[in-house]
Symmetry: C2
Subunit: 568 residues, 2 copies
């Protein structure tokens, strides 16, 4: 059976609870949100003793099902005040699955403000003093952790900005090769982990057996069929070749690529930062560069990549679309080298690239550095590294940066900066930004690949509803959204896989029902935290300033959005 | 008849509207809130073209009824996102009354980011370029304005922090002697005025006749009776002698004096900053010092004062309780000279001393300077003056400062720092902080002088309800709260005075009804802006951390608070 580990930071006590058979299908976001909804006061002080940080692995964790090892991390968000789940790839959930751990809950506050490491192996669970890691950046700290605990561990960790409780800080997770670059970036969960005084959670699965798969033959058979579906899927093939950066051309053509603080939706330098260009630079430079790479054990899509500098040395891995859109075009920066370096700096400092792209852009709007100035943006990263006051402002994310600098246009919902899609030009995603339980978030209900007229207000609520349910379902299973297409003809496989692993009946319909229940539970948490229907909207300027490239404003009727969470 | 002046900043057009006879009793906060509720989208971008800044004089404006010339200023608050009305004494409403102006509405945004002065006299209304005033501090700018427009003008103006759209900036109004020190401090309305590009509104009442009082004999008679009531009222006599600083002993004894970022409610140095000490220092030093001073024409309470330095030169006038509590004890500073200097610096920069006291205290909690370090706090004022990044952080108020610095305990409701009463020890005011339409605000419903057990949860909702209605009524009339006691035996005078001036029937009951209607209108605005019952609460730490001096937590049942706005 799977276990739930509770770590009480106030006393140092670590307790194990067994997950009962009837709760075995609650995983990933379904579990983080259920625990938070039941155990956390929605009005708690976010850095107080009553907030909790919950890590949960998914239903397929510990197997090598492609895209099946996402790690979900949740808490009451320091950034948004809402319930929050942020998930990432990498090897952490895999290690948890191998160790038979479904969830880890960090509770209370350390008495003395000390910094610790939570180390879990098959033999023991312990809190280890970690003062020598204080203010250490993510990459060197991960390196040191691997020296201390072995090369094969999975690590969830924070950078200096998490320790400082900076609101744009995320939680970095190691990928299958040990890079601490798979980010649960959104919602300031790094700051919450920092408030718990935990620098890193280190998972060592040596001698662990993993899930006691009930029906190994069924698992093997479906996995093989699924991989075939993936490899024959044309859209997924583009992911393999171009990574997520393939999206640049799509959004640029739609007028949906955020440009210069969401003042327009097409970027004159889009061809310098698109999927073709990225692929070309990586393949031409060679060396440590790699245009296609798997972040999780078993993934056959391999949308990740490794971006090299002109000497072939790896700068950052991966370089993804959201970063390109926020740190690139939204800052007017049309230079992949600068974007890659900014990405690396954010990762190393422990920051969410989306909120930081938003922060840099509003700072640019305030005149701190000019739009398009990549070197200027890099100097802002120096400010954060040095923990200067300007660095403090920026690392508190786009909304606080905008508020502190007196900026009029701040592209955010519920305190969180929008991802790299202008909501006036991908209106379904605009509906998701407005209504999501997570604040502005593209993974909460992505509609950009749906066959709908993205500039029209029509049908967008329905599209967003469908996407929110599907995306939440994958978050609850612990699967990457990108695999959804591969299940298109055989959605029942999603349940069959869980059934094969856990030995309890599981249907696609049940997984959908868990997703819907999770959304409503989250919405209830937010309502108890003070959010109402009237918070479900975009900043005014999206309604009244036309995006000059899509020639649209956001005009999905509010009244229609209010019915989004009325599920059948 | 009274006029409403609309200034469209986008076109420079200034229009006059006549106030119809049936609307003549809508003044002060009743008028600012009604205009905002009817004309402003509750979800507008606060610095966008659709927010408005409204100044409204009260029912007695332009007469010399004691305490009868408060100026109300309102807008959608940049600090809280709620509707906001902040009022102050001084001579601005008096000048408006003399000029026959009930309200001034600033609309739209200046096209070119220019800075202007709105100059209104009996002869003309004009927008005058004011680039030479840019970044000019409040006192020298007021001096220059008086040189430009004459000694007798009334001025509402902002400092450099308002121009910078800093969220803790207020609007300074001249007192009857021309000092620009009567602050509409709360809610960041200075930033809103700054976003409109208006440095100052200058009112010249030369050759103005004032209100055409219908029944001069009645007015004269009630005014004389009222003044007698004031002068024979013992409590008001203490105001005359000690100013508002007389409150220090009361709250310190209750355990309600905010001390070191609301970590306790009694201050070991209280005797160094209380009313006695203040009176003693002012009288001993003499010179420009003055223990009792009227801020408004006609006021006979004269709770204001002028605080001199040890050479007898005026440092600041007035030095008030809220500043002493927030900038003093709440920062651990037990030194009136340092507090007076901090007060002056805030005034001169255009900042609300309450939110700034909160900001300095959370910065102290974050270790920026130590608690109790008056000189350190003054250096923080230098940072704001220099517009350094730390200065930007601090001038965005206590909540953003706390968020940017990662502070756990931020004593605020709806983004606004609490006034100088710990809600665990004056629980009725705690109810007001939680439920007020204005965020944490003592003037929204003050209960500290009510004959109730302040440490008990019992009866506090009823007390707060009563106080909120009474306080709102005075805000709508344009009278100072302090005069309420003088009407205790003759509440009908409140209506009689309005009737004598405006020639329309007016009863006390009608004024109460206007207050209640105003509260419900404001609450509706806030609900449309996304606020719900679940926002009506204090930060968690007040519920779970005992105030060691009152030995209480805040424990007024939430369920009871939800019925506060159910008026009979």
């Amino acid at each position: 059976m799977s276990k739930l580990i509770r770590v009480q930071l106030g006393t140092g006590e670590i307790k194990e609870e067994e997950i009962s058979k009837d709760a075995v299908l609650l995983a990933g976001r379904a579990l983080t949100s259920k625990l938070l909804a039941e155990e956390v006061n929605p009005n708690c002080d976010v850095f107080g003793k009553n907030n909790k940080l919950v890590l949960a692995s998914g239903l397929y964790a510990g197997t090598t099902i492609s895209c099946g090892n996402r790690i979900s991390i949740g808490g009451k968000s320091p950034l948004t005040g809402t319930i929050k789940e942020s998930n990432a790839g990498g090897n952490v959930a895999y290690k948890m699955g191998k160790l038979g751990i479904r969830a880890i809950v960090l509770e209370g506050l350390p008495k003395d403000g000390s910094l610790q490491i939570l180390h879990i192996s098959n033999e023991k669970m312990e809190l280890i003093p970690a003062e020598e890691y204080r203010e250490m950046s993510v990459y060197p700290a991960a390196e040191k952790l691997r020296q201390q605990f072995g090369d094969k561990v999975g690590i969830s960790m924070i950078g200096p900005t998490g320790e400082r409780r900076s609101l744009a800080s995320g939680i970095a997770n190691t990928d299958k090769d040990g890079r601490p670059s798979r980010y649960c970036g959104r919602g300031g969960l790094g700051a919450l982990m920092g408030s718990k005084g935990i620098k890193a959670i280190v998972l060592d699965d040596t001698n662990s057996k993993g899930p006691k798969t009930t029906d190994k033959a069924a698992l093997k058979k479906i996995r093989s069929q699924l991989n075939k579906e993936i490899l024959s899927n044309e859209a997924l093939g583009r992911f393999t070749k171009y990574g997520t950066a393939g999206m640049v051309d799509i959004t640029n053509n739609l007028g949906a690529l955020p440009t210069r603080n969401f003042s327009r939706g097409s970027f004159d330098l889009a061809e310098e930062i698109n999927g073709n260009k990225l692929h070309e630079v990586i393949t031409q430079r060679g060396g440590e560069g790699n245009p296609t790479h798997a972040c999780m054990p078993g993934c056959v899509i391999r949308c990740s990549n490794a971006y090299p500098n002109d000497k072939g040395k790896e700068v950052v891995a991966p370089l993804e679309y959201e970063t390109i859109g926020l740190v690139g075009s939204n800052c007017g920066i049309g230079d992949l080298d600068a974007i890659a370096e900014l990405n690396y700096r954010c990762n190393n400092l422990g920051l969410d690239t989306i909120d930081m792209g938003g922060a840099i852009a509003v700072a640019m709007e305030a005149g701190v550095v000019p739009f398009g100035d990549g070197q200027g943006a890099l100097k802002l990263m120096d400010e954060i590294e040095e923990n200067s006051w300007l660095g403090r402002i920026l690392s508190s994310g786009g909304v606080r940066t905008g508020q502190v600098l007196g900026v009029k246009r701040i592209p955010a919902v519920k305190g969180q900066i929008m991802a790299a899609y202008d909501p006036r030009a991908v209106k379904g995603l605009g509906v998701t930004y407005a209504t999501s339980t997570m604040g502005a978030d593209h993974t909460a209900g992505q509609t950009v690949r749906m066959p709908i007229e993205h500039h029209s207000a029509k049908g967008q609520v329905e599209a967003s509803r469908k996407a929110q349910i599907t995306n939440t379902m994958h978050d609850c299973i612990g699967t990457c959204l990108f695999i959804n297409g591969a299940f298109a003809n055989n959605p029942e496989w999603l349940g069959n896989l869980a059934e094969a692993i856990h030995g309890v009946p599981c249907t696609y319909e049940e997984l959908q029902a868990i997703a819907k229940k999770t959304l409503l539970l989250e919405r209830d948490f937010n309502q108890r935290a003070g959010f109402s229907d009237n918070d479900d909207r975009l900043p005014e300027f999206f309604y009244i300033e036309e995006n000059p490239d899509s020639k649209t404003v956001f005009d999905v009727p509010e009244e229609e959005m209010r019915h989004l969470f009325e599920f059948d």
